[in-house]
């Protein structure tokens, strides 16, 4: 009888374990607070050009491939892919077991319709149409093989495809362009239930989800029953949302709120990093005295990025010394030693360039070409927002000992665009974010120095443009990174910009949330395996 009782208890125990785990992992509504400034214009990622739109789309629409948390492209709706040897086409081998939330099968025809929708002029896709590149045509040799043909090699396609939501063609044809954003239907783990503009977005679990995303680590649907994204307009409120229990997760909380979550029993602080240019100030190299490379070099020698980080961001940001931040896969570490903090060297360079002291606190021009003698060495530091302007205030202090009079101005986005287009600036804030090395091409290739382009410095260096063109043409990451590193060296030799720090994404996460997975980009996350502890 005793033996029987023990066996019975053991069996019961074994039966209880999976039931308990399953009960813990299933259900619940996850509330995520995000800054209101990140609200998509339209929820359709074929149209909108924002990372958050594509992120929110990814809950209801799996892409062809994903960028894994470790930074690799992994197959999702495509089982595999390759670029043709001549570089003029991409071939995708698709999964044959996928269907959309409305029952429409996923196949090459459905994928082609998605591509065609993005490229259609009436869609007026702001960015994704360009990300897909100069498409010359499509081929579908069989139901699950899809070929995209190009007029010229387009290696950057994968970076666009990891974000491109694949929608049900039945749904977007049924609802039309204007209404489809209210009926987004894809193959993802959650069904889009709608959005209240300026307030929130809602999702519900899709019970028939087939786990096609490689991040999905279990059989069956996602654990969460509901997901609600709430927009918060005030930073102070956002920073307190998790602490007050109004949200499980708060994305992009201000650096000043981080301390509250570091030694918090109920919540954790997560930090995500995003590859890109970091917070850089582009020099206007066409305007005196910044047209003198010695002056630009002197400013870099007189800049202490660690001090900026400590003074403004409590040391929570990443310091940066070059055109790409340290988390970028093509980051070149040679930048670290190029311009060490050295006031003597900075003073020496300014003297060489013809900027001398005449008894005042700031240096003045003496025999500088294109500058009237006696002109004070003054620059305007243009920043978007008060927080960025504080970097300028620290620089004012750092550059005063070398006789530079720095003025800080806070400008709005439209003014920034206007100033850049008129080349009416000294140091202009610019930040671009993507792990693709073509970000360098975008910001530094002189061919992108047109009204509306993103190359602002005025630098025109043939060898730099050549290296950047090769990044854009090449498909092998190692080779692209080699060109990117060469480009970084040239940019730093010619001092196209002032690097400062790189802003991470800070998340406050309630300890009741499990398996909230950050992507390799700090502002991307996965909810496939997330669950809330009751």
């Amino acid at each position: 009888m005793k033996k029987f009782t023990i066996i019975l208890l053991l069996v019961s125990f074994l039966m209880i374990i999976p039931v308990t785990v399953s009960a813990q992992q299933s259900g619940g509504e996850l509330i995520i607070a995000v800054p209101a400034s990140q609200e998509p214009g339209t929820m359709d990622g074929h149209i909108d050009p924002y990372q958050n739109t594509w992120l929110f789309n990814s809950f209801s629409a799996d892409p062809l491939l994903i960028l894994s948390p470790s930074g690799e492209y992994l197959p999702c709706l495509a089982e595999s892919w390759e670029m043709a040897e001549d570089g003029f086409s991409w071939i995708f081998h698709l999964r044959n077991d996928v269907f959309f939330q409305d029952g429409t099968p996923f196949n090459a025809e459905a994928l082609q319709k998605n591509f065609e929708r993005v490229k259609a002029p009436e869609t007026a896709s702001v960015q994704m149409a360009d990300e897909l590149g100069p498409i010359a045509g499509y081929e579908t040799p069989d139901e699950y093989t899809f070929i995209v043909k190009y007029d010229s090699p387009w290696p950057a396609l994968l970076d666009g495809l990891r974000r491109l939501p694949i929608w049900s063609p039945t749904a977007f044809e049924k609802y039309g362009l204007a209404d489809f954003e209210k009926h987004l239907i894809g193959t993802g783990p959650f069904i889009y239930k709608g959005a209240v503009a300026g307030d929130h977005i809602s999702y519900e679990r899709w019970e028939d989800y087939g786990g096609w995303n490689p991040i999905h680590d279990h059989e069956g649907p996602a654990y969460l029953e509901k997901v609600t994204i709430r927009y918060i307009g005030e930073q102070l409120v956002l920073g307190n949302m998790v602490d007050s229990g109004e949200a499980h997760i708060a994305q992009d909380i201000p650096a000043t709120s981080c301390e509250d979550y570091e030694n918090n029993e109920d919540a954790t602080l997560l930090t995500g990093y995003q590859a890109g240019t970091g917070l850089q100030w582009v020099f206007n190299t066409l305007k005196a005295p910044l047209n003198q490379v010695e002056v630009r070099q002197a400013l870099l020698y007189a800049t202490d990025q660690d001090d900026i980080n400590e003074s403004v961001f409590d040391g929570r940001y990443l310091t940066q010394k070059g055109p790409l931040n340290k988390v970028h896969p093509c980051y070149w570490d040679g930048v670290e030693e190029m311009y060490p903090y050295d006031l003597d060297k900075a003073n020496e360079l300014l003297e060489t360039a013809g900027w001398v002291y005449d008894g005042g606190a700031f240096r003045v021009a003496k025999g500088v070409e294109g500058v009237e003698d006696g002109t004070v060495l003054t620059f305007v530091f243009s920043a978007l927002g008060e927080e960025r302007a504080r970097i300028g205030e620290i620089l004012q202090l750092q550059w005063a000992p070398i006789g530079v009079d720095l003025k800080v101005e806070v400008i709005a986005g439209p003014i920034q665009i206007e100033k850049v287009q008129n080349k009416d600036f000294d140091l202009m804030y610019e930040r671009q974010r993507t792990p693709d090395p073509r970000v360098l091409d975008m910001v530094w290739n002189s061919k992108n120095d047109y009204p509306g382009g993103w190359a602002w410095s005025g630098l025109k260096i043939p060898e730099l443009d050549e290296a950047l063109n090769k990044i854009a043409e090449n498909s092998v990451l190692e080779e692209r990174c080699a060109y990117a590193k060469a480009a970084q060296e040239i940019i730093m030799q010619n001092v196209g910009m002032l690097p400062t720090v790189s802003a991470p994404n800070f998340y406050a996460v309630s300890n009741s949330v499990h398996n909230f997975q950050l992507g390799s980009e700090g502002n991307w996350w996965f909810l496939n395996n997330t669950w809330i502890e009751e």
């Binding site: 214009g41 339209t42 990372q51 702001v126 307030d199 409120v237």
Partner: protein, 310 residues
């Protein structure tokens, strides 16, 4: 009265035309363009010059300004305010969606404003020079001069994060209206309180009030039945202006409390250079403001039967 209303409605037309011209051209005078601004916040926001030109064409940004204006105004006369560049949605539809939320908030704000402002104003007038008078009028000054965003944040810290009675953000449910409504209502409560007090004190010194009292009427009947009606005329004017102002200016409250609303969309529209959205909302708000004023003028007839419009 009918003729008066028709005449006032007719007077709105040139004002609206003027508003439409000013807002249309002022928006175009602002630096920047919608496509650059859209891409400035985008991830790796690079597009080719050709693509940019295509987008400008599809958004109707390449036509001469005068053509763009007449296209817009003729569509607006048909009730079509165009499509938001950023939100890709009909502007009329967006106004409908967001105005409901702003109107709701303004009503709650007005409720707090009237209930606090009228009651303190009346008591202060009746107890002139008492401690209540000094205290309430002092607080009224504080209410008027307090920055709305600061007051909102203080209320959130106290009632959302500390005692957790009301949500700090969002636009769903009655509880979400309490703190933003109070924030919006408190500053205008100060104005209404002061105006009610001074207006009532003045009326209470009138001969007809003295007559009413000498006839043996109870003080409550004198105040509520005789004095208040006349004291209310300047207060109603102020309430009308305040209500119009609340609807047009709820943006700070909407931002602090993360509520959807017309004011917030309008500010975003300006930052995004979303021409059709800004033009449509300004035009709509002009109509709302003028209509509110018309309603206020009409209400005078009901408050004081001696007032007649012809």
């Amino acid at each position: 009265m009918r003729n008066y209303i028709l005449k006032r409605l007719g007077q709105m037309i040139p004002v609206l035309i003027l508003v439409s011209i000013i807002i249309f051209f002022v928006m175009r005078l602002l630096p920047g363009d919608p496509i650059s601004l859209m891409l400035a916040g985008a991830e790796g926001g690079a597009i080719s010059a050709e693509r940019r030109a295509e987008l400008a064409e599809s958004m109707g940004l390449n036509d001469p300004l005068i053509v763009q204006y007449f296209d817009w105004i003729t569509s607006a006369l048909r009730g079509d305010l165009g499509e938001s560049i950023r939100m890709r949605e009909s502007v009329s539809k967006l106004i409908g969606e967001f105005f409901a939320s702003t109107f709701e908030l303004s009503l709650v704000g007005l409720f707090f404003s009237l209930s606090i402002g009228l009651s303190t104003g009346i008591i202060a007038a009746l107890k002139k020079d008492s401690w209540f008078d000094f205290l309430s009028m002092g607080l009224a000054y504080v209410g008027i001069s307090m920055p709305i965003f600061w007051l909102g944040l203080v209320l959130i810290l106290a009632f959302s994060f500390e005692v957790k009675w009301f949500p700090s953000a969002g636009g769903e449910g009655l509880r979400s209206l309490v703190l933003p409504g109070l924030t919006l209502g408190l500053s205008s409560a100060g104005l209404i309180s002061r105006l009610t007090r001074s207006s009532l004190i003045e009326i209470l010194n009138e001969d007809y009030i003295r007559t009413a009292r000498s006839k043996g009427l109870k003080e409550q009947a004198v105040v509520m039945g005789h004095a208040m009606k006349n004291a209310m005329i300047p207060v109603v004017t102020m309430v009308g202006l305040q209500f119009g102002g609340m609807m047009a200016g709820a943006v700070v409250t909407e931002t602090v409390f993360s509520r959807p609303g017309l004011g917030k969309v309008l500010v975003n529209g300006v930052l995004w250079m979303d021409y059709p959205l800004v033009q449509g909302i300004i035009l709509f708000l002009a109509v709302v403001y003028m209509s509110t004023n018309l309603l206020v003028d009409i209400s005078y007839c009901f408050i004081d039967p001696r007032i007649r419009y012809s």
